[in-house]
Amino acid sequence: MKPWAALRAVVMAIYVFMLGPIVITAAVSFNQSNRSQFPPRGFSLQWWQRAFSAEWVDPLVFSLKLGLLAALISTLLALPLAFALARHRFAGRDALAALTLGPLMLPALVTGVGLLQLFQYAGAREYIGFTALLIGHVVICLPFAVRTIAISLQTLPPNVELAAASLGASRAAALWHVVLPLIKTGIVAGAVFAFVHSFTDVNLSLFLARPGEQPITVKILGFLEYGFAPTLAAVSVITLLLPLVLVVIVERVSGLGDFIYASRSRG
């Protein structure tokens, strides 16, 4: 086989294994029978109707709220952290970096168990649910936001801040008029990564959810214990599309694609 043919085969295989499950799930959700058959028998929207009942919409909305809030808070925390880590050398810098980026290496499962125990020992059991989930999600989303913002700070053209200062801009004005606009896409990218990470998390959420306060992923997992119904296929498609739609919108509005694909050179 020629090298190009081999490469093409590998790419094809990646597409099949990446997109195949999604296509099958989407097809199954339109089944007429109540068995998850593929290829689907007949066509009906009954499973989609069930997917839009309160039973499923509530955890979906819960996940959206949790994800947006976790993304917002972790991005706001990440800004000063990224500045400190990317720009300054200070005592305890390595410790701060390890603490901030640590959750990236740690299984979220461990973080979840730890947080659950912490809330129990602290006698803050009533906070298990949304509050505990939010804290946990901020912890695991923070590294993504810090990393992307720190990278965009490092790609800042040299001397632009000095140029702003020489033109009469105070540090705050230089930050507002020069630095923030230039790292805007990095900030947005960090927030999007954080949101997606929160929205798709199961490991941590499993421990910190409670009935009535559970994200969609935990709900799906719970439902799976009773078997796989076409409803689940419909829910999965919605869960998949929601963050995708959000990312596309953000990309269009902010030119995020430039950041992710690094297609535009900076000068």
């Binding site: 000095l162 200062a165 020489s166 801009a169 540090r171």
Partner: protein, 329 residues
């Protein structure tokens, strides 16, 4: 009166001394060049004047006001950076208007002054372009307009020509120097290029190892260097010892002849190599005492030519011999 004065200015980084206590007064409207090899402290000196970092010791006066403790945005300076440091997210016009916006000028006045500044650097048509859509030379002009439009007391130029190609660089030399004289703005220009320094400056401060070796007009530093470093760094120089005293002779001031000259400095030698430079011929000689010498003769059609291996006399008039102390006093 001096618009810019440096007194015992010093900058140390730990044990490393970048600027070793310099005194310099730049007159109003003067074009002063800091010239020296890389690492001589010239860019550090410029950064100290701009306020990008604090001096370890000494004072800086701009327009009579002590500014060493002030941040850059309170110093009334304009800076053109080597990489231009334009704001990539703003158009050329917005770049130029940035300093006026920071000074909270009215929109109408800002627009007028931005237009004037862009016309001054012949970029009237390109105000709406972003830096990425401009050529190197055009970016350079935007950077210049951006620094000038705020009408600073002192204009600081940090090797602004080094990123341009040769032809454009030579054009911009003349253009920047002309603009500076037309506006009469006190200017400090940093370069390692002696050609730029000689062509553009009113005075040149030659720097070496954190110190100023000599300050003078271009012809003074070229024709009357006071230290061996200056003599060697600017142009080329033949060094000899005559009666225990050092003598220096520029290659273009030396003469070649077959007969011994009547007076002045003279040595017998052999032509080792002839280099054809187009506008001139360069002769490399070995003198009778084993020393080497270089002579540059204009290719004017009148001067006699010597083949390699010819026995010649190397000479110079007394006026063309510089006496330079071997070491800094």
């Amino acid at each position: 009166m001096a618009e810019l004065r440096l007194e015992k200015l010093e900058k140390r980084y730990g044990a490393t001394v970048a600027v070793a206590g310099i005194d310099l007064a730049v007159r109003e409207g003067e074009f002063m060049t800091l010239l020296g090899p890389s690492g001589c402290g010239k860019t550090t000196t410029l950064g100290l004047i701009a306020g990008f970092f604090r001096p370890s010791a000494g004072s800086i006066f701009i327009g009579g006001k002590a500014v060493a403790e002030l941040p850059p945005f309170r110093r009334d300076i304009g800076v053109v950076f080597q990489d231009y440091a334009l704001f990539p997210h703003l158009t050329a016009a917005e770049n130029v208007g940035f300093g006026l916006r920071m000074r909270k000028l009215s929109t109408a006045e800002t627009a007028t002054r931005v237009r004037e500044a862009l016309e001054l650097v012949q970029l009237g048509q390109l105000g709406e372009r972003r830096p990425l859509e401009l050529s190197g030379g055009q970016r350079q002009r935007v950077a210049l307009a951006r620094a000038l439009v705020i009408r600073p007391t002192v204009l600081l130029l940090d090797e602004p020509l080094s990123n341009l190609d040769l032809k454009l660089r030579e054009e911009m030399r003349v253009e920047i120097a002309g603009l500076q004289r037309r506006l009469g703005i006190t200017t400090v220009f940093v370069t390692h290029d002696q050609g730029e320094a000689l062509v553009m400056s009113d005075r040149v401060a030659v720097m070496n190892a954190g110190r100023i070796e000599q300050v003078g007009s271009p012809s003074e530093i070229y024709e009357r260097p006071t230290t061996r470093f200056v003599a060697e760094f600017i142009g080329r120089m033949n060094f000899f010892a005559e009666g225990g005293r050092p003598v220096a002779i520029r290659p273009e001031r030396a003469r070649l002849s077959t007969q011994a000259p009547a007076d002045g400095f003279a040595r017998r030698g052999t032509v080792q190599q002839v280099l054809y430079l187009g506008g001139a011929l360069e002769y490399r000689l070995e003198l009778a005492d084993g020393e080497r010498a270089v002579v540059e003769v204009p290719n004017d059609g009148a001067a006699p030519r010597y083949a390699e291996g010819s026995a010649v006399w190397f000479s110079a008039t007394r006026e063309s011999c510089y006496e330079i102390p071997a070491r800094r006093p």
